[in-house]
């Protein structure tokens, strides 16, 4: 490989790494701000203008707290836990295509850590490893509540991974490739209404729900359910080890937002992207125009990501936590059959070259809702027994 390309790749990887960390840092700030605004409060506004230095203050606090390891804990595994959580969280962003490509001279370098033809499987693998950090940490703490939290995390992640994989299969069937870049490009060729969110509405909803569950975000944050498990798997953690766990959650959120945007919302593609690209190339010359167009696409991609991060927070401060049996019922009895149905209908649609086949599921569901609520007894509220 050419040294220049190697160097550019290294820079891109470092930049992606830095951006991931930066976004995760400011997600903690955004989370508190969004929570505050949704609850008619103002949120942090003392550290720096608008409280913008709050994450740095928090990090400083985390670093200077006592790093405590319980006497009965398994010391090395206790340390390994947060490291694993952080590692797996950071690994996933390597294959996400953040933009088209940068051209200089004769080189054309895609704005992406690495382009592999099994990008989706890679992300899937990394996500499935994410649970180890939680499990190892929870077990090593040698604490009932931590262990219960870890076990909940494990069973929840395994359960929802199945539905997650199934919902992606429908998208893969439409694209015929496992590469994220190919998926984005395919959506770019079919235009705005070719975005997978329009061709795969059911798959999108399933994927979204599973993404929430995989990130352990409310309403699926049972592993750290305070009311039952104190802090769940991170009960015994303090200082920056705790910080790593919390940080990993935000990185996971960023990665899932990025994956959702590129799988279902066209990634760095936006309506009239091709026209904008042509206009820019005409105006600024082949290379500069192309690079500016790429930058535009990247900005669009990041705004999609930010919207989904906001959405994650919005849902967190709206929906209460599920009960454990509700969680399992939803995963195994609703989402997985629905995902299978989705795959079958998509396949049938592809057979007849009809991309919008899964809307049938949506239409049927809406019809059933209308019928069932029409037949439901109106205003019949049973008097409470005293």
């Amino acid at each position: 490989m050419d040294l220049t390309i190697l160097l550019t790749k290294a820079i891109i990887i470092l930049v992606i790494f830095g951006i991931t960390l930066l976004i995760a840092t400011y997600s903690t700030y955004a989370e508190r701000k969004v929570a505050a605004f949704l609850q008619d409060r103002l949120g942090p506004n003392r550290a720096g203008p608008f409280g913008l230095l709050q994450p740095i203050a928090d990090a400083g606090k985390m670093f200077f707290k006592e790093d405590f390891i319980p006497a009965q804990a398994n010391k090395w595994l206790f340390i390994l836990g947060p490291c694993l959580a952080m590692l797996t969280a950071l690994m996933a962003s390597a294959v996400i295509p953040f933009g088209d490509s940068i051209r200089f001279g004769q080189y054309e370098i895609p704005v992406q850590g690495i382009e592999i033809n099994i990008g989706m499987l890679y992300i899937f693998g990394v996500v499935s490893l994410g649970v180890y950090g939680v499990m190892v940490g929870g077990w090593a703490s040698n604490n009932k509540f931590s262990l219960l939290g870890a076990i909940r995390a494990a069973s929840q992640n395994i359960s929802y991974e199945v539905a997650l994989g199934m919902s992606i299969i429908a998208v893969l069937m439409m694209t015929g490739s496992l590469s994220l870049r190919a998926i984005v490009e395919q959506q770019a060729t079919t235009g705005f209404f070719g975005w997978n969110v329009f061709t795969q509405p059911v798959g999108f909803i399933i994927f979204l729900v599973c993404a929430f569950a995989e990130c352990n975000r409310t309403p699926f944050d049972l592993p750290e359910c305070e009311t039952e498990l104190i802090g769940g798997y991170h009960t015994e953690y303090s200082s920056m080890k705790l910080g790593f766990y919390l940080f990993a959650e935000y990185i996971n959120m960023f990665v899932s937002s990025a994956v959702i945007s590129s799988l279902y919302f066209g990634g760095y593609h936006f309506p009239f992207a091709a026209q904008a690209h042509d206009a820019l190339v005409n105006a600024l010359g082949a290379n500069t125009g192309h690079n500016v167009a790429t930058a535009l696409g990247t900005v669009v991609f990041f705004s999609k990501i930010f919207f989904f991060i906001f959405f994650f927070m919005w849902v967190r401060w709206t929906v209460p936590r599920f009960r454990y049996d509700q969680l399992m019922n939803l995963g195994w009895k609703s989402l997985i059959p629905l995902a299978m149905l989705n795959v079958v209908i998509t396949g049938a649609g592809l057979l007849f070259n009809f991309n919008y086949a899964t809307w049938i599921v949506v239409i049927v569901a809406v019809l059933m809702i209308v019928v069932s609520s029409a037949r439901a007894p109106k205003g019949a509220v049973a008097v409470q027994r005293t």
Partner: protein, 182 residues
């Protein structure tokens, strides 16, 4: 020894990668059987799977590597860990080492060893023809074509096997009318 040295002088970066990976694989595999703490065993086993995936990548079989990690490291080992975490290992430690258990272990292990040796002696290492060799066989498209073309029947039979296993598991796990609720 000299032979080995000259070999190491000749091989490329990929070769070093292979040897490094192989070393780690064997080491973590040894840890799997020697570790006293089952959790450490499981973690070492996960490490072994990772190294195996690395080998798959070196063989240009990325799909297999990813699936190996998703299925084995990501799901099956999680379940292993899950089960072992429930055991109270401090108590079990002593019970597990009765004489009968030791003898049984030796017999089973010995049989396996003999079997393996026999197989390795009898088996022929496959060769390949460099002119017709296609290094893209392991990639997902080609693998899919092979699985759904030439090997369709075994593939479907395997899926039926899984279905049967799944139904069996559900049957075992199902609570009958009069069963005790745990």
């Amino acid at each position: 020894m000299n032979e080995l040295l000259t070999h190491f002088k000749q091989i490329s970066a990929t070769g070093y990668l292979f040897w490094g990976l192989a070393l780690i694989t064997v080491l973590s595999a040894i840890v799997v059987v020697t570790a006293r703490n089952p959790i450490h065993s499981v973690l070492a086993l996960i490490g072994t799977f990772f190294c195996l995936s690395g080998h798959y990548v070196l063989l240009n079989a990325q799909f297999l590597a990813a699936v190996n990690i998703i299925v084995y490291a990501g799901a099956i080992m999680v379940l292993f860990l899950f089960t072992i975490m429930f055991l109270n290992m401090r108590k079990d430690d002593e019970e597990a080492k009765t004489t009968t258990a030791k003898i049984a272990a030796v017999i089973v292990g010995g049989t396996l060893l003999v079997l393996m040796l026999g197989i390795f002696k009898a088996a022929q290492v496959g060769t390949y023809n460099p002119t017709t060799f296609d290094n893209k066989t392991g990639l997902v498209e080609n693998l899919g074509m092979q699985l759904y073309g030439e090997y369709l029947l075994p593939f479907e039979l395997a899926s039926i096997l899984f279905l049967v296993a799944m139904v069996g598991a559900v049957m075992l796990g199902k609570r009958e009318a009069g069963d005790r609720h745990f």
